[in-house]
């Protein structure tokens, strides 16, 4: 009955999730069909900024199949402002954010009216009938100009476009450290806006039970638990009457870490009409309506000695909030604030972020959320410093990084990096990459003056993830904690249900959590099922984002399983008439030391506890257990990524020739899943470096408004990646895991851009703005030769 002889943790288990996904037996939100289901469609502002003078939905009501239509004013009653859970400063400017605009629209795509019809076709048609009068207002697009005294305002009632100023100064005084520096470099980097592009567009279905006032919300969300709380607050539906289910969710990358207007609108409409409703975004609609990522201007200054010892770093950010503050919009740059010093030792660090409102789609978390931006800035300027000091870029890093024997290490930004081995990861990566050979080839080709240049980029990163210690989040003014819950139900037939508060959308939690539980409980992998993503079935949770699921949620599963074993041990001791101390537990079997024939399995104990005929005196008749994990520290994955590019100086095209990475994500539960996460992360990092950008025109219209214009790379546009690992366990959780969801994205972007600049440096190029399109590379070459 008990099966596990081999350790599950560390095994490349094939995923339990796959069976329904490869056969099409999925439950995407848009698949849900309910009797009487009505479809919502949303009319959106065609302009970036305008006063709404009149909205007349009545012509839409005349259209066939239309059941209802509402303007912002019609729905205002009972539909509050959308929440921002991370007001990063006390005096932050927090504008009102109605899910449906009432008086003013502030970005192209801002919802203006909603129609409800019997099918999606009728709903789409009816939108055309709605009449809206707008008075155009000036768009606000330039982050610097918008801070001027006389700049037009996104939120006139607030009197400023400055959302907040968040400073951090740690270590010694930066100005005095700078005084003693031999070299001070200052650079400006631009983090273009990105569109996350989860493959599944967002969708929401709400089914009401009018008689009891209960509502079930199905949403393509990463955060069913947070969504439930927030929807209760926004709509006034009592929290205990709301059930939120995240069915199969097709990727998120932060874009579904959100409380969206459409979710609140769908709930409100279902409540008004007493009928089930569905809304599904189209891709091009999502490009306007689903939050964007990045969008920053980074002014970075680094001070060092002539020998290449870093002294200090100063960072000034302008961060584009977009038109409104969504769930964690203001906090995204702050997640990055602590990571600008990267893996390096230095004496002083000075950081300021100014959040700025613009008339564009709101920004919020996108894979890495603040940390890719930070890593990009430090890794780019380290390369520039290496050139300035005539040092190999790897050597400069080596001279400054924290050595493995120095952990735990208090970073200059105030974090405690618990573990790591940057030397080991870098040495392994250099060897796999053939660094010295590539440098030799590069030199030859530069001497020959090849039109196709070879460039080599390095990126040595760490990140803070595993969000997070609740106390720290509180200090940062985040509205919630960072714990995660798990419970384990030992079923009478010997099967096991693991209930997790994480909400997977592609990460394979069902598989990994099964491995963790199977190991601790000594049951077989196949005997474990994992329940998630339903606030009724998994009532307690903080959901999935920030590479937190394994290090917090997986660790909670581990600890809950430990508690189950402890309870089972009491029952086993009772049944075997032995003292608990005399019991051994291995492979799911309790046995008495010295008399191995006296044994019972944990699954037999589950049955015995179910019947409860013969339990220890006073024992509560259950061996089920739950655990809420609140880690004491973040975790700090790290690694070294190396990229070799060929840049055609005639056309400006960059081709990735080889890509090698060695990541240290701590102990690995499932190497297959870890490798997959690294691949996908690198792909998105490369995409930022080479392909993707949300481009707006001077009027504030999204130019890259469809998937034909926003260039998501295909299989042809990405190389094979060589991945490897070192394994330095994290100390902040019992699994020793560090998290892997964002690592690739954080590391890859600067590796690629460093390689491009490295290729072109002999031709005078020192910077190419992202995405490094062929046109931009060509322009940079032209300017360098002018």
């Amino acid at each position: 009955m008990t099966g596990a002889t081999e350790r599950e943790v560390g095994r490349a288990r094939l995923r339990k999730e796959d069976a329904r996904l490869v056969t099409g037996q999925t439950t995407w939100t848009d698949n849900i069909q309910v009797t009487g289901l009505l479809h919502l469609a949303i009319l959106r502002s065609p302009m970036a900024h305008a006063r709404v003078d009149r909205v007349d939905v009545s012509p839409a009501l005349e259209r066939p199949g239309v059941v209802a239509a509402f303007s912002g004013r019609d729905l205002a009653e009972g539909l509050g402002s959308l929440p921002c859970a991370w007001p990063v400063t006390e005096d932050i400017v927090l504008p009102d954010h109605p899910p449906l605009a009432v008086d003013e629209v502030r970005y192209a795509g801002d919802p203006v009216a909603v129609v409800v019809a019997r099918d999606r076709y009728a709903a789409a048609d009816a939108l055309e009938a709605i009449e809206v009068d707008y008075t155009p207002l000036p768009p606000v697009l330039d982050l610097e100009a918008s801070l001027a005294e006389d700049a037009p305002l996104v939120h006139a009632d607030k009197g400023t476009n400055r959302c907040y100023v968040w400073p951090l100064a740690t270590g010694e005084d930066y100005a005095s450290v700078k005084e003693r520096a031999d070299v001070v470099l200052k650079r400006r980097y631009l983090q273009q806006r990105l569109i996350p592009n989860a493959m599944e567009p967002r969708a929401v279905v709400v089914t009401p039970l009018p008689a009891s006032g209960e509502y079930t919300v199905y949403s393509a969300t990463q955060i069913p638990h947070i969504l439930r709380i927030m929807l209760a607050m926004v709509t006034g539906v009592p929290e205990h009457k709301l059930r939120v289910i995240a069915p199969d969710v097709g990727g998120g990358f932060g874009s579904k870490l959100q409380v969206y207007g459409e979710e609140a609108i769908a709930l409100t409409v279902a409540r008004r009409l007493g009928r089930p409703v569905k809304w599904t975004e189209s891709r091009s609609e999502g490009y306007l309506a689903t939050h964007h990522g990045r969008g920053m201007i980074q002014d970075v200054e680094i001070a060092a000695t002539r020998e290449g010892k870093l002294l200090g770093l100063k960072v000034d950010l302008l961060a584009d909030m977009g038109a409104y503050l969504m769930l964690v919009t203001p906090g995204v740059p702050i997640l990055g604030a602590f990571m600008y010093p990267g893996i390096y030792k230095m004496d002083a660090y000075d950081f300021t972020c100014t959040g700025v409102f613009t008339t564009r789609t709101p920004t919020d978390a996108y894979r890495g959320a603040g940390r890719p931006e930070a890593t990009y800035a430090i890794e780019r300027i380290m390369d520039e410093l290496a050139v300035e000091l005539d040092l190999d870029p790897v050597e400069l890093r080596r001279r400054n990084w924290i050595r493995h024997e120095e952990f735990p290490y208090p970073s200059v930004a105030g974090l405690t990096y618990d573990s790591g081995n940057y030397e080991a990861a870098t040495d392994k990566a250099l060897a796999l990459f053939g660094y010295d050979d590539l440098r030799a080839e590069q030199q030859k080709r530069n001497e020959r003056g090849d039109t196709v240049r070879l460039g080599i980029g390095v990126s040595t990163y760490t990140e803070m993830c595993g969000l997070a210690p609740s106390r720290v989040l509180g200090d940062l003014r985040y509205g919630a904690g960072g714990w995660e819950a798990a419970s384990i139900r030992m079923l009478p037939t010997g099967k096991v249900e693991v209930v997790t508060g994480t909400s997977p959308h592609g990460q394979g939690h069902v598989t990994s959590w099964s491995q963790i539980a199977a190991d601790v409980l000594g049951v077989s992998f196949d005997d474990v099922e994992v329940v998630h993503g339903d606030t009724k079935a998994a009532p307690q949770g903080m959901d999935t984002y920030g590479s937190r699921s394994l290090v917090v949620g997986g660790a909670a599963v581990h600890q809950a399983a430990v508690k189950v074993v402890a309870k089972a041990r009491k029952v086993a001791a009772h049944l075997l008439e032995a003292s608990e101390d005399d019991l051994e537990f291995a492979g799911g079997v309790f046995s008495v030391k010295g008399s191995p024939e006296a044994r019972t399995t944990i699954q037999e104990i589950a049955l015995a506890t179910f019947s409860s005929h013969d339990l220890p005196d006073g024992m509560e008749p259950t061996i089920n257990a739950e655990h809420v994990m609140d880690p004491e520290n973040f975790s700090y994955p790290h690694g070294t990524h190396l990229c070799a590019v060929e840049v055609d100086t005639e056309t400006g095209r960059t081709t990735i020739r080889s890509y090698v990475c060695v990541d240290d994500v701590g102990r690995v539960v499932n190497p297959l899943i870890v490798e997959g996460q690294v691949h996908g992360g690198i792909a998105q990092g490369i995409a930022q470096a080479l392909y993707e950008e949300a481009v707006y025109d001077d009027e504030g219209n999204l130019v890259s408004g469809t998937m034909a214009d926003y260039l998501v790379p295909s299989a042809v546009d990405l190389p094979d990646f060589v991945t490897d690992r070192t394994e330095t366990p994290a100390t902040s959780n019992p699994l020793g895991a560090k998290g892997v969801g964002e690592a690739g994205t954080i590391a890859a972007t600067p590796a690629v851009v460093n390689a491009i600049v490295d290729a072109l440096r002999p031709l005078g190029v020192t910077e190419v703005a992202m995405p490094c399109t062929p046109g931009r590379v060509w322009q940079a070459l032209k300017e360098a030769s002018a």
């Binding site: 789409a124 091009s284 950008e693 322009q779």
Partner: protein, 285 residues
């Protein structure tokens, strides 16, 4: 998104199709493979009252020979063009360029006639038709007429086809012993060409006797690089001579500006890609 409502006709003959188009006036759209039209409908960028589905009219697909001319039915899919032995033998440039169109699933549905009638200057095939000196045969209420490719592409997404005309076939002169190459420059595999160059070269004794060069996405219509063609006539099939001729490839072009490139960059690309395409077509490197 959802296409707007439209009436639908599925004629079974060219005559019936033409009659249906004539009755509808300007309000009809022809549906062949639908790979250009359906995205436009879904984005609600087109609102036809009537969609005339010509996809089942017999006799409009396939490739046949007519003396020195290859006749390709307008409904021949990209997939079939790529694999057709006659196309491969007599007009390999068309097959080579068609291979770069969109992706396999789109190539299964998309048709040669549809691509040309849609007349997107960023599409690959209009410039190829121009370089090939193709003729396009249309049928209307007054019967058949033949339109030279250079007269066919009138403006951005506009052709010489009248609303009541149906493109039925594409006639391409057979070419013997011409080298060819289509140099497409795009940013990701599925993206439209930033610039594309279709080159046909007839060599004679180490020289380029004749060259025909079509430019994709260098203006509101596909264009010929006439100055480069003239400079190549009689030039040695060598890198420096070709480069000199390619330097005038952007003359007379009016490329657009978008996030993938400024007009200046496109002009530069046209020169570089023309050099590369001509050298490849000439059998050089």
């Amino acid at each position: 998104m959802i296409p707007p409502a439209f009436e639908y006709a599925r004629p079974t003959s060219v005559d019936e199709a033409v009659r249906t188009l004539a009755e509808a006036g300007d309000e009809a759209k022809v549906l062949a493979g639908g790979q250009s039209l359906l995205p436009l409908l879904r984005l609600r960028l087109a609102f036809p009252e009537l969609v005339v589905d010509v996809g089942r009219i017999p006799g409009l697909s396939g490739v046949r020979e007519d003396g020195d001319t290859l006749v390709i039915g307008a409904l021949t899919t990209h997939h079939d063009v790529i694999r057709d032995p006659l196309v491969g033998r007599y007009t390999g440039l068309l097959a080579a360029a068609t291979r770069t169109v969109a992706d396999p699933a789109v190539r299964h549905r998309g048709t040669l006639g549809g691509s040309l009638a849609h007349a997107d200057p960023a599409g690959d095939l209009p410039a190829v038709a121009l370089a090939l000196d193709a003729e396009l045969v249309a049928v209307g209420p007054q019967g058949r007429r033949t339109i030279a490719a250079r007269e066919f592409f009138v403006d951005y997404l506009q052709t010489a086809l009248r609303p009541d005309e149906l493109l039925v076939e594409v006639r391409v002169p057979k070419r013997y012993g011409w080298g060819f190459h289509y140099e497409k420059f795009n940013r990701v595999a599925q993206a439209w060409a930033v610039v594309g160059v279709a080159a046909l070269v007839r060599r004679d004794n180490g020289h380029i006797a004749e060259a025909r060069i079509g430019l994709t996405n260098m203006g509101a219509t596909p264009l010929r690089a006439a100055a480069s063609e003239a400079a190549l006539a009689g030039a040695p099939a060598a890198a420096d001579a070709v480069a000199r001729a390619a330097a005038s490839a952007a003359e007379g072009t009016r490329p657009s500006s978008d996030p993938s490139g400024t007009p200046e960059y496109r002009a530069h690309l046209a020169r570089v890609l023309t050099r590369r395409a001509v050298l490849a077509a000439a059998g050089g490197e």
